[in-house]
Amino acid sequence: MTHTRPTLVVVGHGMVGHRFVQAAVERGLTETHGVVVLGEEPRAAYDRVALTSFFAADSADELSLLPEGEYADPRVRLVLDAAVTAIDRTERVVTYVSPAPRASAEPLANPGAVHEIGYDVLVLATGAAPFVPPVPGRELDNVFVYRTIEDLEAIREASTTATAGAVIGGGLLGLEAANALHQLGVRTHVVEMAPRLMAVQVDDAGGATLRRHVEQLGLSIHTGVMTELIEGDADGVVSGLKFADAEEPLPVEIVVFSAGIRPRDALARECDLEVAERGGILVDEQCRTSDDRVFAIGECAAPGGRMYGLVAPGYAMAEVVVDALLEGPGTFTGADMSTKLKLLGVDVASFGDAFATAEGSLELVYSDAVAGVYKKLVISEDGTRLLGGILVGDASAYGVLRPLVASGIALPDNPESLILPVSSGAAPLGMPDEAQVCSCNDVTKGQIKHAVGEEGCETVADVKRCTRAGSTCGSCVGLVKSIIEEHFESVGKVVDRGLCEHFRLSRQELFDIVAVHGYKRFDDIVEAHGTGRGCDVCKPAIASILASQFNGHVLDRGTRQLQDTNDAYLANIQRNGTYSVVPRIPGGEITPDKLIVIGEVARDFNLYTKITGGQRIDLFGARMEELPAIWRRLVDAGFESGHAYGKSLRTVKSCVGSTWCRFGVQDSVGLAIALELRYRGLRSPHKLKGGVSGCARECAEARSKDFGVIATEKGWNLYVGGNGGAVPAHARLLAGDLDTETLVSYLDRFLMYYIRTADRLQRTAGWIDSLDGGLDRVREVVVDDALGLGAELEAEMERHVGSYFDEWKATLEDPEKLGRFVSFVNAPDTPDPAISFTEERGQIRPADPDAPVVLAATIPVGAPVDAAVLG
């Protein structure tokens, strides 16, 4: 085997393996190395932390971290369904079998083929396996573990005939598994050997509070209980659980083991890499094993002999190895094991010295049994520093408290205020720069301040893009925001969410005020809620809000003086003051007859013609006073406004889809046309673009759009938040395998929620980033209807669709609106002499404004004007 470039082989495509590849691509390691990733599961990496949501999700794709199934970087090759069976460190060869053998498969069916691949560098990211204690009966049918999507599919299958099930293990994962069983409609028992739930993270009082919450949901909790035997029926299927000190077995038909995890280090043991005493591949601070060419990261690794069963330390290890391969100085020296999560709808957080093990430490406890809230702070003996704490039922203070522990800064005089319900939750102003704010991506306060002070970041979205803070779990977004505000206050810049000097209100607040009061005129709004006479910032924003809510004509009296440059003349102004005209061509589909009309109009008015990126045709060089005549011809031929001039829906681009394409699986053109016609004319905070692709080849580039739809065998995947431009963003999966009706209702909700709450000139990508919780928040509101707004948002969209009209046609029918389309109020027949054209490649183009103007030769119509006046 010969290589022109060194080969880096990654064993394992879980969350950490995926992060490693991402980091390798981002930091340029693929410039020098070819990367081969061998994943054992049949699907690409997915979000195992959110595994429980699999049942709520419409498809496994929603959990996927790589929905495309391959990396965009062609130098990374991903091989799935490949089980590594041996590593030869002398020859530097990895042996794998594909397809990987499955426990559930027939033993003789389709034995996988054996492959070999040579490596120069090997990264082991094999993860961990569930620990199944040696309880008799564990080999029975309907005994499961809880680790992969396949495990969940098997549990779901079993749940269709089961009435009761037990989860053995009452820790973090056990409760996740119990939640899954409970969601499947199975009466759920949780069996825990320790005297309380989540014994590693919370104390007795916290465990009791958590237990009350869980029991209220209808789950049964058995703590301090030892499982002696799993009983089976005649068919070898689980029938009950026998506890050590109980007479009668607990009747259950499903058992799920979730009693901890063990590092998957067997491959490493077999090739004689050093392993830690308690399991895990022993690695140094650069995550290098006892073999210089082999690294181990994530749950299979044991840096300093200790294994880390959380994803954040795994991510940190992945970054460290990429850094090491680039000869950087990064090291992994342990991780903050603080935890904050929502289990069965209950907030639980545990951080620092949660059990007050430090000498002389004090505890400060707040407990409200009725509300089900328990909070404990562990404070140093002298009362000056926070050492740790536990929060159950309300973990909102976590974002503030955890950095206090990490940084060791002095507590306020009344530390109880930090956990009392009135607590403001504001950022502790004295937080030092070294304090870690985002634990997922290891971003400190100092880095955020630098991004704000030196790199020009002004919003949470900017900071996310710049530092990644808040871009993973989103729990620190509130803190990030207060750090930004604190910085601006410290430099004397007024932190003002207001639109401009005339309104101290944000766009969202103005939107709500207009909705509540039913204002229809700028004058009323500025008199009641603003000052002065407005400007080029607030007027178009209010015009857009009024258009979104009432869908009147933008050139109606009372709103036309608010319109921005292009809306004011329903066309796009160009550098020489002329306009371009874009008729709507829904989905990019056009008949030859209509194409000929566009050609004739362009020829007759001598317009420069160009095909746009949105699959339509732009006609340039129209003088303002020519616009009505041009549109008269277009409207007569059945065209309507393309709203290329508006902050509104532009186009829904499509590929040709299943109608013609031999690869297409759905009618993408039909859907694109339907969506474009549905949302045409919808005024929004910024322009909106859509795309529909008929198969996963994605020829419509839908994922570069605000909303992108990609056909699947079963329906449509909906992606949101993409855009091209200076800061390109790839749209992310909102929901998968939707039928068309559900797709449209989600899109209705998504767009209306965006229109209601986004800032002025904020594209969907930035808007999603700015939300507390990011895309997950959008999914809660749009898919789960967490705010109960779904029907209202859909009704608003219905109202828009019902009230749509073509604003160019309406303009042509209204002499009062047409009156303003003149060159000069006192000489309407004289074309503006300042506009002139030359020719290039057989079409017109604006004359260079600095070049001498030869008027008579270049003004195509109207009376000549004395050239001297321009001289």
């Binding site: 000097e501 005339h502 002065g532 006479r533 407005g534 400007c535 080029d536 607030c538 007027k539 178009p540 009296r557 036309r560 003086q561 608010l562 319109q563 921005d564 440059t565 004011a568 003349y569 102004i573 550098r575 020489n576 003051g577 303002m624 303003r820 060159s823 000069f824 109020v825 006192n826 000489a827 004289t830 503006d832 002499p833 300042a834 506009i835 404004p849 600095d850 004007v865 004395d866 001297a868 006046v869």
Partner: protein, 117 residues
């Protein structure tokens, strides 16, 4: 004849000027942008945006900045003081400012003002 001495030219009825929405007039061979503000004042500036080098100012949004009536060029949003033609974003730039007279409900534009307010 200097520009300041030019005679008044009738442009249009005052009623044709909408509040905060400009019009363009051809006055003495020049394109002039005429605006009527919310308080009833009428102002006239050269229509040519010196930054964008295009004759467009009349199509801009009219408002106030710190109480000063201004128009924002539709090209790149440079703000011009309606009273003087001075650019509020760059004091070295300005556009011509013309005398305005309302007589018998008709707007008249005079010569270029030599001194700004």
């Amino acid at each position: 004849m200097t520009r300041g001495d030019r005679t008044w030219e009738k442009v249009c009825p005052l009623a044709d000027l909408e509040i905060e929405r400009g019009v363009t007039a051809l006055v003495h061979g020049q394109a002039v942008a005429i605006f009527r503000t919310h308080d009833g004042e009428v102002y006239a500036l050269g229509n040519h945006d010196p930054f964008a080098k295009a004759s467009v100012l009349a199509r801009g949004i009219v408002g106030t900045r710190d109480g000063i009536p201004f128009v924002a060029s539709p090209m790149h949003k440079h703000a011009f003081d309606l009273r003087s033609g001075v650019c509020l974003d760059d004091e070295h730039a300005s556009v011509p400012c013309y005398e305005v007279l309302i007589e018998d409900g008709v707007v008249h534009i005079g010569g270029r003002r030599r001194e700004v307010a």
